[in-house]
């Protein structure tokens, strides 16, 4: 049963991921991305991380990709892009080299860490099996708002800075104003 779920979810993710980069139409690519995100959510459910699964759907599929689609529709770039012209010379070569390098890194990392994948390391405590359904969420809350609260707050500051910066950049100022 677990294997079936794993294979199906992984197939979903891979089909979606391939779709994102091969579909010419940006809207189709965004929809493929949604498929991938759902595959990840299924994996989370299979691993009994229900909260992460729900948040994955709400934040990524429900908000971020919706905003992608919104921008695509608003800007009217939902036509197949012309892939012949190159804005940056040799960017494809560089991208290819970078992708190969990344792939090599990943393969080496997985190969070297193979024993960690099979044996459980000393990480966060797992939820006790009979501790009630909210144990998972309580642990998450403790680590986000307790142990790592500074990092969490810094991230939110970063996001606010990004939002303010975007607003400042996009608003055209009349001549003569500071």
């Amino acid at each position: 049963m677990q294997l079936v779920v794993f294979v199906l979810a992984s197939a979903m993710m891979l089909v979606g991921a391939v779709g994102v980069i091969t579909r010419r139409n940006p809207v189709h690519a965004a929809l493929s991305l949604v498929l991938t995100l759902f595959g990840v959510a299924v994996h989370f459910v299979a691993l009994e991380a229900y909260f992460l699964a729900a948040v994955q759907i709400i934040v990524y599929a429900g908000a971020i990709v919706v905003l992608f689609l919104f921008v695509i529709m608003l800007l009217g770039v939902d036509k197949a892009e012309d892939l012949k012209t190159e804005p940056l010379v040799a960017q494809r070569w560089l991208a290819g080299v970078a992708a190969l390098g990344l792939l090599g890194l990943l393969v080496v990392a997985v190969a070297r860490g193979a024993d960690i994948l099979t044996t459980r390391s000393e990480g966060l405590d797992t939820a006790a099996p009979n501790a009630g359904g909210d144990a998972n969420i309580q642990q998450l809350a403790r680590s986000v708002f307790g142990d790592y609260v500074v990092a969490f707050e810094l991230t939110s500051v970063l996001l606010v800075v990004a939002v303010v910066g975007t607003v400042m950049l996009t608003r055209k100022r009349a001549a003569g104003e500071a």
Binding site: N25, V27, H28, L31, V34, Y50, F51, A53, A54, V55, I57, I58, A61, G62, A63, V66, L67, L69, F70, M73, L74, D78, A131, G132, G133, D134, A135, N136, I137, Q138, A141, R142, F145, G146, A174
Partner: protein
Amino acid sequence: MLPRDLSSHVGAPSLRPMLDPALEGDLLWAPLVIVILKVLVVFVVGLVATMLMVWFERKVVAGMQNRIGPNKAGPYGLLQTLADGIKLFFKEDLLPRRSDRFVFALAPFLSFVPAFLSFAIIPLGGDYRDGNDGIVTWFGIETRVQLADPHVGVLFALAISSIAVYGIMLAGWSSGSKYPLLGSVRASAQMVSYEAALGLSLASVLLIAGTMSTSGIVGAQATLTDWNVVATGVVPFIIFLIAATAELNRPPFDLVEAEQELVGGFNTEYSSIRFALFYLAEFMNTVTMSALIVTLFFGGPQPISFNGFTLDIPFVPNALEGTVWLLLKVLVFLYTYVWFRATLPRLRYDQLMNFGWKVLIPASLAWFLLLAAQRLARDEGWNVFVTTAIAVVVLAGCYMLMQAAFAVSNKTRESQGAQF
């Protein structure tokens, strides 16, 4: 610091068995049959409820406008929806030439399926009295009268409602026509904006209930004063009701299909069964959202009980009585939605956005922080009144700051020649 023991709250909700007890342990035949039965019942009940809702809405609106409404098909026109549905089935299915075929065909299902999914987590009955926890026994198996009771129940509903936007958005885009596109761009902006207010007012309920499972939330609302509408202090309920109306794209927030401006809105190019699916999803969502409001704020299948006195329906077993109570409460909200539709004029687009971002989201966030402060004061043994007073003062300061920011921004825009 966090309160050390999060489960020390009312009734220690995290200690109750969270999942449906029938689904724990090995998979046997009896639970499987029960689950399949539940799926069938939920699906059929959903469809029939939608059918009746369409009739109910038409009849009530007609009454409010001094008309008769549907009265030909069946007694009191009850079968009018069925007749319309059959008619739509046999109509020609048009496919616009400039449409995106695949997405155009996919969109109705993307809005239809989520409408049904969120029905799965709503407790439809069961006996929650005297610590019974809503568990009923069918064929010797203990279970709940709801299709699924996931740990993250309420978040599931939120996730489903956030996916529901895809159907409308893609329908408008894939039609390859400008009015539907305008409708769907409006829809996506509106639904994403009000989703935030919806989630924040929901957070207040979760804070009070101390659990996310829908059956746990219902279980914690035993008496009238425990009902979350009282326990969270009405404000989250009002915000939730408004935001839910906006999420449903129902009047007065139905800019998505503003007939006067957009021909028919996102579904202009749809016909036949695909149009029927959109129509069905819209009314199904209304029913589900009403049921969700009742579950979150009005005790779901719990009877009205106050100060040791419980309003009991005679001759009806307690487990069945829950369903009756739920039905009655849901009917009240269905009527409220119809009432909104018949009486409130549609908002303008900028009013909609201003209301969502500048009123609802700050208000729900402020109320959530206030409740959190009170909760923390109780857990740490501080004086609740002093803490509340300090929180109110701080929030008032935030409000002034926000008003000042609005004033500055309005002035800047006026100096740049904006008209509004």
